[in-house]
Symmetry: none
Subunit: 218 residues, 4 copies
DNA sequence: AATGAATGAGCCTTCATTCAT
DNA sequence: CATGAATGAAGGCTCATTCAT
């Protein structure tokens, strides 16, 4: 099974269609709880209570607590990186759909932000737990290294050749780009999620910053 | 007690001078364990074993497990922000010690990176746990809002007046600045800590990026 | 219902003819599992899996786990003692079919050993569990006291009157006879079942021993 | 460490001197419970209640439930076979302390019966559980094969050479001897422990039987 | 100050059993 | 009949914390 088939597979698993009502409730309760107290700080009995099912029911659907964690996190993260797997992703860049790095960036950022907005609790769990579970880290590290990074790298090199962006190592360019965006997302959802945010405008500013820095000279 | 006195107070607590040998060992073992498995995932008995003390001894020094967490995290985070409290911090900026925002940035960044290098395990615990413990979040949120943010804001406005940097909201400027640096630190220590890093050079690049962006135009 | 009718009744229950395919498989799986792990150490879900049926199916045929145990053990043990109920059993002894105690012994031993060979797993369950379940112990204790013991006693007295065997209490004679045979069967099947055994010859030796002891004098 | 040292070691473990009060009570409660309901049928919470300690206390002394089982059974079984390890055991036979096999038998039987009388609950647990736990079976199988069997074999051969007993394979002689004795012990303690038994006389009868059989001819 | 035995609540998981489909 | 999802009690075991020594 190729990686992109694997991604499709993973995602199917959470299509709510194939899930029983109880299973959906368990998942929701678990997301709530893990997100609020962390994986280790959450107890299966609490999740069961919140889901309105017996504790045994959780273990009928998920053999262990950890399997429940993976069932929550894996498909969502897969969905998050899925766009980087579709064929058109890089093609549109190379065939001049995007003339400039900043156009490309803006589209990707807005699109992924939309996703984050809907799935933040799950992504928060992922971020919190990736440090502690090899089962989480390894598949996504590989996925990222083999696909997302490779594809991004070629895109960056493409724009470097066009003279659009400076010739630092692609890895560095990526890190700067990514951290500018993540540096918006994290406070936006984690610390000040109750504030009013004009995401469109903020992203435009971030893209502007990524391209021309704080000095503002173009 | 003013905030700056409070900071000084906090820091004294971890001066190794005032600590018994056992206490130091407990702290070290706890840092190790919390850092590796998270707070909830660590057991006091494991920490005791690693520290080579009896289980009860931990509770003689720290009333509860959570108090142990705070004893680890609080003084280190206080030390991390301490420079922002000394009088000279902003004065040097306004009195033209730093002519340019980027000079100021470079100095602060290198200096704080040095600190992070030494204290990463503790800071990792802080990052992981801040989401779950009000006792951690609240004092530092306040500290940051009242002091670091305020001071930084005036510095940014200073350079905006000088026309050095664009006139986005100071909060946005700060976020972009900070996330660029944090976006280096986190992969640097969390994911690829075993690689060789030329921190000096990397920070120079980050500062360059923060000022002039990826287009590279000055 | 007389005891001998009851025995016949019991035995009919396991005639494989009257059983559905699933039921047979459940029984086989349960014998396997109980025999290997003991009654308490076996779970109904494991038995269901091994039998290839759903968990609920077991409980359609046997109201409780204990009923399943009895369904396994009772008819086999009944079959084991059944010969002692047929009319001819003692008659043949008294009407000089067997002139000597040892002839009688040899025939019974060989015949019952044949049965044990085929049914050892079930008998092992019986031996293991009889100590823990009144439902198992009581009917067979009664059965044994009322029939097997009584019949045996008269046979022993018969041979004692003929001067064939010494006049210890019949109970003692029985115990010595029985334990000599059981002392062969248990190691034979429990500990060294994979060795080659010449059952015919071994039984001849045991009978010899029971009659003339280790000194070998006749 | 040689086997006989190992035996000594094992036995020390249960010297009640080195045990705390609670530990002794846990052991007693566990013997009671295991003996009555079997290992799998007993719960640690029941044992704790019977011992008058908290459930956690059991696990402070014995890491797992199985370790508790071994702590009960191992030293007692070791004590049971210990006499077969002392040097004088066989020597007395060969140096004509025992002129006849039956004298030797009588002494050993009476002596070991005394032990069984005191320790039957533990030995019952051993008998019940040896079939299910490799940790129990393996060490004692080896112990028996290497020492008890070997020593016994030479004794039997000694008496065979003297013409005292018939020349069947020593293994067979042993089996017959042992099962005659065990065939007394098991009903004696397991089924009819509340009856009055004249052990002295019974053993004399058993020895008589082992030597001269039921025909009674000398 | 330090110990480590003791605690009992709580952990994750498995259990025998029920019942709607 | 057979299924397997659902149950909640009970399982073995670990936890943070206390306290007599």
């Amino acid at each position: 099974m190729s990686d992109s088939e694997w991604i499709t597979e993973l995602i199917k698993d959470t299509e709510h269609a194939t899930m029983s009502d109880k299973q959906r409730k368990i998942l929701e309760a678990a997301i709530d709880t893990f997100s609020e107290k962390g994986y280790s700080g959450s107890s299966t009995s609490e999740i069961a209570k919140k889901a309105g099912v017996a504790e045994g029911t959780i273990f009928r659907h998920y053999k262990t607590k950890k399997e429940l964690l993976l069932a929550i996190v894996t498909p969502t993260v897969a969905k998050f990186v899925a766009p980087f797997f579709i064929k058109s992703f890089a093609k549109e860049v190379f065939e001049n759909e995007y003339e400039r790095y900043e156009d490309f960036l803006r589209v990707v950022a807005k699109n992924r932000l939309e996703f984050v907005r809907k799935q933040f609790p799950v992504l928060k769990i992922f971020i919190q737990e990736i440090a502690f579970h090899d089962e989480l880290r390894e598949p996504f590290q590989k996925l990222f290294a083999d696909h997302v990074y490779e594809k991004f790298k070629r895109i960056i090199e493409h724009f470097q050749e066009k003279g659009e962006i400076i010739s630092l190592p692609p890895q560095t360019i990526m890190r700067m780009t990514a951290s500018s965006i993540i540096g918006y997302i994290l406070p936006r959802f984690l610390l000040f999620s109750d504030m009013d945010w004009d995401d469109e405008k903020e992203i435009d500013q971030i893209v502007e910053f990524v391209m021309y820095g704080l000095s503002g000279r173009k």
